[in-house]
Symmetry: C2
Subunit: 258 residues, 2 copies
DNA sequence: AAATATGTTCGATATCATCGGACACCTACA
DNA sequence: TGTAGGTGTCCGATGATATCGAACATATTT
């Protein structure tokens, strides 16, 4: 067999994997006990116990009530990771602004480890309810902003991406064919913006644009999402793209000068 | 020497400490290189390199530009940890509401590993700028909401706390004497709310109350902070406490029935 | 009271995390 | 051009340790 996949990268800290397996498991369903985690991950109870105790001693998890919960130090980590993105404040403001003027959901994604990650989000209707789902991930090829980001990738990066990624069928419309994706990206490059017609979620449309830095490399992607019966026709195909292109342009300028 | 402090808890996953040392270091000043982290932590370059590579392979950190940055998976962790607190939405709303009506900063703390951690915060003036500093920590004895929480501790828990904690002098007014603290807590218990007169930061006053669950155990603490020249007299000593007590009561009811 | 499940501790063993050293690469700077 | 200092990366040896299974304690249930 060829060394196709490098199944286990050599010279890694093995216990780190165990540790994060445990953490992810605790994250998944908070309040889990030692035995539950042990059963789910197929590690010896004593091993899980050791890790959980270590994590608690180091104050990264908490033993509240019956089971274990992620500690708030991760909130600190997360805020740091978020604020570390140049222009985050500007991005957040712009996202809220677009959500308000359009009355639809607006979000900003960044690319990380070949995934699209929500960095900011706002839901229009009530300005209070902001940032739902921040930090969660979806495949780049299945998000309008994600496709807009992919369209800005160099040929080299794109080839790498297409080779590594495993396409998942989120809906019947999700792009799962490399050639179709390349074709779509070419169109996006030409137009300057991307559409998403029920490729992420049935009944949901979206428009997306890439936001690039001074050197033209993508910082992230901005998109507006809404029900397909509302996002259609002229509004969907012209007005929203124009709005987003303007917003992206403004963002790019502001970020460059901050 | 007596086994007073249990300096190193036995049977812990040692490499976890190294791992989190590295992570904290990367968090501290984002964009650090292998050598910088190695020098700062006094681990061999190869060791740091190994950990960083592992963390990158597992997609918890990112190699952007010159150095390493915390990955956005921690944002996901953090949001999970935050949302895991029962009634977080209600808390956030209430905090925003209080900030708006008072025009001062309002925040909600929870206790975790004997620290007060910001769970929600709002700054009054512009409702957009919300949640600054979420996830950061201050000593319980040095925050008004923290003292309110301490006042609800059982004698057992309080004794443990006072024994473990190392008092730090944040300002000249910070309480650093166990007896003074106990005295203060007794007063708070009697009154039902706590004051903070420049004990955290010079020129800053605050009022705090505890929020308890159905069983009377503290969920967290609610407080209003502002410049000492504005928070004084009748307003500070009566109006704000009343407002906060009402808010806490309302919160307690809403959380109990959610 | 027996029985099941769960948290916790312990001992043995093979694994592995750590370190220091070596190499390759890059940038200055002479 | 060549040397010197810095950095990222790889490697080998060794002492430390993460893992497992078993055993014990405790709690809850039957």
């Amino acid at each position: 067999m060829p060394p196709a996949d490098t199944p286990d990268v050599p010279a890694n800290v093995q216990s780190a994997r165990t540790l994060f397996d445990v953490l992810e498991c605790v994250k998944e369903g908070q309040g889990k006990t030692v035995s539950e985690v042990s059963a789910e991950l197929d590690y010896a109870r004593s091993t899980v116990h050791r890790h959980l105790r270590t994590l608690e001693d180091l104050e990264y998890i908490v033993h509240r009530g019956e089971g274990y919960h992620l500690g708030l130090r991760f909130l600190d980590f997360g805020m740091n990771a978020r604020d570390n993105y140049a222009g985050y404040d500007l991005i957040r403001q712009k996202v809220a602004e677009i959500a308000e003027t359009t009355g639809e959901r607006c979000q900003f994604f960044v690319e990380e480890h070949e995934d699209a990650v929500y960095l900011a989000r706002s839901v229009g209707e009530n300005a209070v309810q902001t940032d739902p789902g921040i930090g969660s991930r979806i495949p780049l090829y299945a998000a309008s902003a994600g496709k807009a980001i992919l369209a800005e990738f160099s040929e080299q990066k794109l080839s790498d991406y297409i080779e590594h990624v495993t396409f998942e069928q989120l809906t019947t419309k999700t792009i799962t064919d490399p050639d179709v994706l390349r074709e779509e990206l070419a169109q996006i490059r030409e137009r300057g913006y991307s559409f998403n017609r029920q490729e992420t979620l049935c009944g949901t449309h979206a428009v997306g644009v890439a936001v690039t830095d001074a050197d033209g490399r993508p910082i992230g992607g901005l998109s507006v999402t809404g029900p397909s019966h509302r996002l259609k026709g002229e509004h969907f195909e012209n007005e929203l793209p124009d709005l987003l292109l303007g917003a992206a342009n403004e963002l790019e300028l502001n970020i460059a000068f901050s």
